[in-house]
C-alpha cells in the first residue's frame, strides 16, 4: 500500500531527494517549509515527473505555537497520513554561535522546533497505532567538536529525543528511525574545505526511504559513518580535547 508522507523542511537538497524517492514509489506527499515559491516549484515537479499527489503548506519550525493548527490542516487534506520525515535543520555560523542569539536559533530550530512538531505527530500516530517517524539528526551529534558543537549539541539532543520516542511508541506499532548523515553534497556543505567521502543527496534520499524496509533504528548514511563515528566516539577525552576536528 502506498504511504502518505509529510516532509518537514522539504526544500533542502536531502529532503527533495527523499521526496523524489517516495514519489517514485507512488507515495503521496505533503511538503512543508517556510519558502512558498520553492514548495510550489518542487511540488509541481514531483507531480509532473511521477504523477503522484503532492500538497504543500507553510511551516516554520521556530513558530511552535502554530504547529498544532499546522498539523490539523495537514490531516484535513491528507487523512491517510502514514509517516513523517523531519528534514529541517539549521547549521548556523559557528563563530557567530558564540553569541547566544545565534546559538539560541540553532537550538530553537534543530531541537525545540523539532520536539514541538514531533510531539504532535507522535500523539497522532500513537492513537492510530501505526505510522512512522523519520528524524534526520547528524553525525555531528555523536561527539562535541569545536567546529560545530552548538549544532552538534542540538542534533545530539534530537537523537536522544528520538530514542525516547522510539521506546514510547514501540508498543503501539509506530516506527521511529534516526538518520545520521555524514557529509552530503548540499548547499550547506558546498565548497567547504576538509570534506571527504561526500555522498550525493540522491543516494541519501534513496537510503532514507529504503530504511523503512529494514530493521535498523539508527541509520548512518552512508553506512561507513557508523564506523568513523565509532572510532571518533572512542578517542579518550584527554586526547580528543587537544585535537582539531
Amino acid at each position: 500500500m502506498n504511504e502518505a508522507v509529510l516532509i518537514l523542511g522539504a526544500t533542502s537538497a536531502i529532503a527533495r531527494a527523499t521526496a523524489v524517492s517516495f514519489a517514485s514509489r507512488g507515495d503521496s506527499l505533503y511538503l512543508a517549509s517556510r519558502d512558498e515559491d520553492e514548495l510550489r516549484r518542487i511540488s509541481t515537479d514531483l507531480r509532473l515527473r511521477f504523477g503522484v499527489e503532492v500538497h504543500f503548506g507553510l511551516f516554520d519550525a521556530e513558530a511552535t505555537e502554530t504547529h498544532d493548527t499546522f498539523f490539523k490542516s495537514i490531516v484535513a487534506v491528507m487523512p491517510n497520513l502514514s509517516g513523517v520525515v523531519l528534514a529541517f535543520g539549521y547549521l548556523g555560523d559557528q563563530v557567530a554561535a558564540r553569541d547566544f542569539s545565534v546559538g539560541a536559533k540553532v537550538i530553537a530550530i534543530n531541537f525545540t522546533g523539532a520536539v514541538s512538531i514531533l510531539n504532535i505527530c507522535a500523539n497522532y500516530f500513537e492513537q492510530k497505532k501505526s505510522g512512522f517517524i523519520i528524524g534526520i539528526a547528524s553525525v555531528a551529534g555523536d561527539r562535541g567538536r569545536q567546529s560545530n558543537y552548538v549544532y552538534g549539541a542540538a542534533k545530539g539532543a534530537l537523537s536522544l529525543y528520538l530514542q525516547g520516542l522510539r521506546n514510547r511508541l514501540c508498543a503501539n506499532g509506530v516506527r521511529v528511525i534516526t538518520i545520521k548523515p555524514g557529509f552530503v553534497d548540499t548547499g550547506m556543505t558546498y565548497g567547504l574545505p576538509g570534506l571527504f567521502l561526500v555522498a550525493s543527496p540522491h543516494s541519501i534520499g534513496e537510503c532514507i526511504v529504503s530504511s523503512l524496509n529494514k530493521s535498523a533504528d539508527i541509520v548512518y548514511l552512508p553506512w561507513f559513518w557508523r564506523y568513523i563515528m565509532l572510532i571518533i566516539k572512542h578517542i579518550p577525552e584527554p586526547i580528543f580535547k587537544r585535537m582539531k576536528l
Binding site: S12, E38, D45, R49, G187, Y190, L192
Partner: protein, 449 residues
C-alpha cells in the same frame, strides 16, 4: 552563498581555468552578485563559453524543476537547469517530442537556448530558439523579466544564441511536437565522394525530417568526402510491426574509464574504423527502425567519451558555409584537413535552413561541417586558423558553443548582427556583469582581452 574555487573545463577539456563556482538550490538565488558571472548548465559546450577565468560561475544543475506540461497543447515550462535527458522520458510517454534536439541529451534547457542549438532537422524546423515560446530571465539589475518573440522581442532575440551574456535564463517555455511512437524510421544512403554527397543531400526525394551525413575524414583524392547520409523521421504507428512497444527503452550505459593514450587514435586506427563504418552503416540499404535514444544520442551510451581524446583534450571545429559557396568551401576544408594528416575521429555534415531570430545564433542557410580534433601540439591551432580563413572567404561562420580559439576579428566578420546585439546588451547589462572567458576572448560586450 557558499562557493568553490576550482579548475574547470567543459566538454572538450580545453581550456582549463580557475573559476569560482556557486551552486544555488533555490530559484530565488539565481542572481548577479559579482562583477562578472556566467551561468553554466551541464558544461556540454566544448570550449570556454561556460568558463569564467577568475570569475563567478553559477551552476544551474539544481534549478531543474518541471513547472508545467500541457498535454493538449504540447507546451512545457521548466527551469533552465533541467536536462533533455530528464525531459524526454516524461514527454515521450505522453506522445510528445522535442522540436529540436542536439546530439547529446545531457544538456540543460538553458544551454539549448543560450547556444540556440540545432539538430538534424534544421533545414525544416530551424533551431531550438524558433520553438521557444517564452523565457524568464534574471537581469543584471536583479529584475525578473519575461521575453518572447512578441514580448520584449529584442531581449528575446539577443538571448536566443546569446551565450548567456544578456542575463540568467531562469525558465523556458517550449512548444513540443507530437509523435506516434518512440521510434525513428531510418534510411541510409552512401556517397562515394563529395559531389555525390551534395547531390544526395539536395535530393528532395530522399530528404526526410531528419538528415545528417557522416563523412570519412580520412578519405583522400577521388574519395574525398565519401560517407553516409542518414535520413529519418518519427515512425508512425502503422510503420511499426505489431510486436513493437511504441516507446523505446534507453540502453544501459558504457563508460570510457580513463584517458586514452594518444597513439590509440592514430591515423591508422581512425582510417580503419572509418573504412569499417562506411561498409557497415553504408551497407544497410533497407529502411530500419531505431529507438529515439540510439538514433539521436548515439554517443550518450558511452559516458565520458571525451576521455577518448586523451588528457590534453580536443577541439570541435564546427562551421557553416552558405549555400552559394557550400560545395567549394566544404571541399576546401576537407582538402585542408586531409592534407594536414590530422585525424578527425568524427566528421559530420548537415544541411542548415534559414537564419532564425537569434542575433548571435550560429545557423544560416547552408552546410555545416563538424570535426573533432585532438590537441596533440600547437600545430593544430595553426591549422584551425587556416580553416577560419577558408570559412571567412566563403562567407561562413564558426559555432561559438564549440569554439575555444577563434579570434575577435574573425568573430566580428562572421557575426554581422553583433552591433545590433550589442545595443541590446548595453541596455540590459550596461556594466557587462554577464561575461565569460569566451566573451572576453572574442570581445563580446567589451573590447577583446
Amino acid at each position: 552563498m557558499p562557493s568553490l574555487i576550482t579548475n574547470l573545463s567543459s566538454w572538450g577539456r580545453y581550456p582549463v581555468y580557475s573559476c569560482k563556482l556557486e551552486r544555488p538550490e533555490r530559484y530565488a538565488d539565481l542572481s548577479s552578485t559579482a562583477s562578472s558571472q556566467i551561468a553554466r548548465g551541464q558544461g556540454r559546450s566544448y570550449g570556454d563559453a561556460a568558463l569564467n577565468e577568475n570569475g563567478r560561475i553559477l551552476l544551474t544543475e539544481r534549478i531543474n524543476r518541471l513547472l508545467e506540461f500541457d498535454l493538449e497543447q504540447g507546451t512545457l515550462r521548466a527551469e533552465a537547469g533541467v536536462t533533455i535527458a530528464e525531459i524526454l522520458p516524461i514527454i515521450v510517454s505522453k506522445g510528445w517530442f522535442l522540436p529540436v534536439t542536439p546530439g547529446t541529451k545531457f544538456v540543460s534547457l538553458g544551454g539549448c537556448v543560450a547556444a540556440d542549438v540545432h539538430g538534424k532537422n534544421h533545414h525544416h524546423e530551424g533551431s531550438f530558439g524558433e520553438h521557444v515560446l517564452s523565457i524568464e530571465m534574471i537581469l543584471a539589475d536583479g529584475v525578473r523579466t519575461s521575453c518572447s518573440p512578441s514580448e520584449n522581442a529584442e531581449l528575446f532575440c539577443a538571448t536566443v544564441g546569446g551565450m548567456g551574456l544578456t542575463g540568467i535564463i531562469g525558465e523556458v517555455t517550449l512548444k513540443l511536437i507530437p509523435i506516434q511512437s518512440g521510434y525513428v524510421e531510418v534510411q541510409n544512403h552512401t556517397a562515394e565522394n563529395l559531389e555525390q554527397m551534395f547531390s544526395l543531400m539536395q535530393d528532395e526525394t530522399i530528404d526526410d525530417r531528419y538528415s545528417v551525413a557522416w563523412i570519412d575524414s580520412m578519405a583522400r583524392g577521388a574519395r574525398l568526402g565519401r560517407g553516409v547520409v542518414m535520413c529519418g523521421h518519427h515512425a508512425l504507428k502503422d510503420e511499426l510491426p505489431n510486436n513493437f512497444h511504441s516507446i523505446s527503452k534507453p540502453k544501459s550505459n558504457r563508460s570510457i574509464p580513463f584517458d586514452f593514450p594518444s597513439w590509440m587514435l592514430s591515423q591508422l586506427s581512425i582510417a580503419t574504423f572509418n573504412a569499417l563504418y562506411y561498409q557497415r552503416v553504408g551497407g544497410k540499404r533497407a529502411p530500419f527502425l531505431s529507438g529515439y535514444d540510439p538514433y539521436f544520442y548515439p554517443l550518450d551510451t558511452i559516458s565520458h567519451w571525451n576521455r577518448m581524446y586523451g588528457k590534453r583534450g580536443f577541439v570541435q571545429y564546427q562551421c557553416v558555409i552558405p549555400d552559394s559557396t557550400a560545395f567549394e568551401g566544404i571541399k576546401a576544408l576537407l582538402q585542408k584537413l586531409s592534407d594536414s594528416r590530422r585525424p578527425s575521429f568524427l566528421a559530420v555534415l548537415k544541411r542548415l535552413g534559414a537564419e532564425g531570430r537569434g542575433l548571435l545564433s550560429f545557423p544560416m542557410a547552408g552546410y555545416t561541417l563538424a570535426l573533432d580534433l585532438p590537441i596533440r601540439d600547437e600545430g593544430l591551432f595553426v591549422l584551425l586558423n587556416e580553416l577560419d580563413e577558408i570559412v571567412l572567404r566563403h562567407g561562413g561562420r564558426v559555432y561559438l558553443a564549440k569554439d575555444a580559439r577563434l579570434s575577435a576579428d574573425s568573430f566580428r566578420s562572421m557575426y554581422p548582427h553583433y552591433e545590433e546585439w550589442l545595443k541590446i546588451k548595453n541596455v540590459v547589462d550596461p556594466n557587462n556583469k554577464f561575461s565569460s572567458s569566451l566573451s572576453r576572448r572574442l570581445g563580446i560586450g567589451s573590447e577583446a582581452a
